[in-house]
Amino acid sequence: MDRIRRYSKPLDSLQSMLLIRAYEERLAALQAAAGLPGTCISVGQEASAVGVVAALNGDDLILTNHRSAGHLLARGADPGRMMAEVMGKRTGYCGGKSGSLHISVKALGVVLTSTIVGGELSLATGVALSQRMLGRSGIVVCFFGDGAACEGIFHESINLASVWKLPILYVCENNQWQAFVHRRETMRTDRIASWAAGYGVEAVTVDGNDVQAVQTATAEATAHVRGTSRPFLLECSTYRLRGHFEPDDQSYVDPAELAAWRTKDPVEHMKARMLQSGELDAQVLAGIETEIERQIDTAVAFAKDSPYPEFDQMTTDVYA
């Protein structure tokens, strides 16, 4: 049974980030070792995923993109079924038809994951229109990258959302990279948030590596969206610490920039903060980490033991 993950205290956020980190690092290791299909992982961006998702309500809907494992796990997706989907197994969330790149979990309100860069922006307006016209209270949260912001559809989406007063929280995860091209080569501004004003949309940039800052900013942003039924743009400034698509040797990345961002690793940052303040003790943390590794072991075993879909699944679910 899929349950939406609840966040009531800082430790919940740390645990969620640790789970995402462990899941993705395991996936990358499995892929390096066994030649599984590659994936886009979000190591370094966990605070953005968890901070945003932790501040949402159970009836809010999420749209996301190719780098979505963090969003899904933060929302409560089962790592076993995620892993099974990546491996193309029948027990995956989409029966093995998605693979890692388009996982959606309707039961968790994670709808319409698009790996066409910008596809999530294209669909978000319609999902928000449904929410409003069908009298549902949940708002729509749309994760997209700095690269997607360069697609024309971003501009069409945010303009329509503004004009139609659609309840959408746009979350730009500005991780400085657009596949193998650095953001500074593709835009004249450092911030996507600064673009929103042109559409009459309010926006804020937050330190995307500070989970508590992201959560606070998201709570304010969602309050704005709920209160005004107008879109809002939240930009999480963060960094993709690993490559675009595993395996990736990152030979094209400036080592100094990478090293600088490594010192801001969001998971380490949160751990240190909680250990220092005494909210968490080292032994408890070690226990949590061991338990998460065990959970990932179980997930991998589940995925590996799961059967592939039958060949007849090649042509099912094409038409309703």
Binding site: L61, L63, G92, Y93, C94, G95, G96, K97, S98, H102, S104, V105, K106, V111, L112, S114, I116, G118, G119, L121, S122, L123, A124, T125, G126, V127, A128, L129, S130, Q131, M133, L134, G152, I153, E156, S157, N159, L160, V163, W164, T316, D317, V318, Y319, A320
Partner: protein, 324 residues
């Protein structure tokens, strides 16, 4: 179309319509159903189609007007990659009950960036359905069926047909998708067509009848799903098939039909298959050139006469050369 839209919006509160100028150009719908369900949009086909896909997946049944078929290139991603594929890749978690309306083909003499028959592009894309009616009655009936369908349906309105008057059945009228109509029964040759080419075939059939040749005219009405049974049954009956459409020949709908007949009714054929189509060229704006782009009744008639003078099993080109 106006009757179908009103009929379906009355029947189902989840149906709404939007597009560039929709609320302006359909004041009667706006008056009856209000500004929430009848909306103008910014000039932005990509987000119009994307919004339709997102809304369809989450409980609404949108109808969007994309104006002219060539403008659909801006909407391709939402239609092909989202509406057509996300049901499948989600393992059946979502469905996409939406309709796009776009005008297609010659009739308005405005040139190639307004006039382009692109229906085959979408028939080639999984997860989509394609309707292209030839009569006023079918405009109403097929549009109603498209709105009721739980899949994305691309509804192409042939401008040539739109500009004509025709009888529309009063009251509720629904024509199921995927069922061709036999517009005229015949025994010597089958003419397969859709949209404006159905009329050209019917006119050709009239003149052929005067010469003692009995032509059957099949109106596909929907290109996807394709009514294969109707095509094959007629091909088996007459043994001669001429396929006619305004869209260009290469990889057009006619190629699919020719392949279907060759694969599944070859034994019944008494003559080679013939395709009469628009040329592989953008459509000219100049009215006479625009009109000549679509296969004309005289050309259809001539093709049939050539076929009927042939003995079976002889290659068509040989005789054509001899004729020349």
């Amino acid at each position: 179309m106006a009757e179908a839209l009103a009929q379906e919006m009355r029947r189902d509160a989840r149906v709404l319509m939007f597009g560039e100028g929709v609320a302006t150009k359909r004041p009667e719908l706006l008056a009856e159903f209000g500004a929430d369900r009848v909306r103008n949009t910014p000039l932005a086909e990509a987000i119009i189609a994307g919004t339709a896909a997102g809304a369809a997946a989450t409980g609404l049944r949108p109808v969007v007007d994309l104006l002219f078929a060539p403008f659909m290139t801006y909407a391709m991603d939402a239609l092909v990659n989202s509406a057509g594929k996300l049901r499948f890749v989600s393992g059946g978690q979502f469905s996409f009950p939406l309709v796009t309306i776009a005008m297609s083909g010659g009739g308005w003499a405005v040139g190639a960036q307004h006039n382009h028959n692109v229906e085959a592009w979408f028939a080639h894309s999984p997860g989509l359905k394609v309707a292209m009616p030839s009569t006023a009655a079918d405009f109403k009936g097929l549009l109603a069926a498209a709105i009721r369908d739980d899949n994305p349906v691309l509804f192409f309105a042939d401008i040539g047909v739109l500009m004509q008057e025709g009888e529309v059945p009063p009251g509720e009228h629904v024509v199921p998708l995927g069922r061709a109509a036999i517009r005229r029964s015949g025994t010597d040759v089958t003419l397969v067509a859709y949209a404006k080419s159905v009329q050209a075939c019917s006119q050709a059939a009239d003149t052929l009848e005067a010469q003692g040749i009995s032509a059957e005219v099949i109106d596909l009405r929907t290109i996807k799903p394709l009514d294969e049974m109707a095509i094959l049954a007629s091909a088996r009956k007459t043994g001669r098939v001429v396929i006619v459409h305004e869209a260009s020949r290469m990889c057009g709908v006619g190629a699919e039909i020719a392949a279907l007949v060759a694969e599944r009714a070859f034994d019944a054929l008494r003559a080679p298959l013939v395709r009469l189509t628009g040329p592989d060229a953008p459509a000219a704006a100049s009215y006479p050139l625009e009109q000549a782009f679509a296969p004309q009744p005289a050309a259809i008639e001539a093709a049939v006469c050539t076929l009927l003078r042939k003995r079976p099993a002889l290659a068509g080109q040989v005789l054509a050369t001899l004729d020349a």
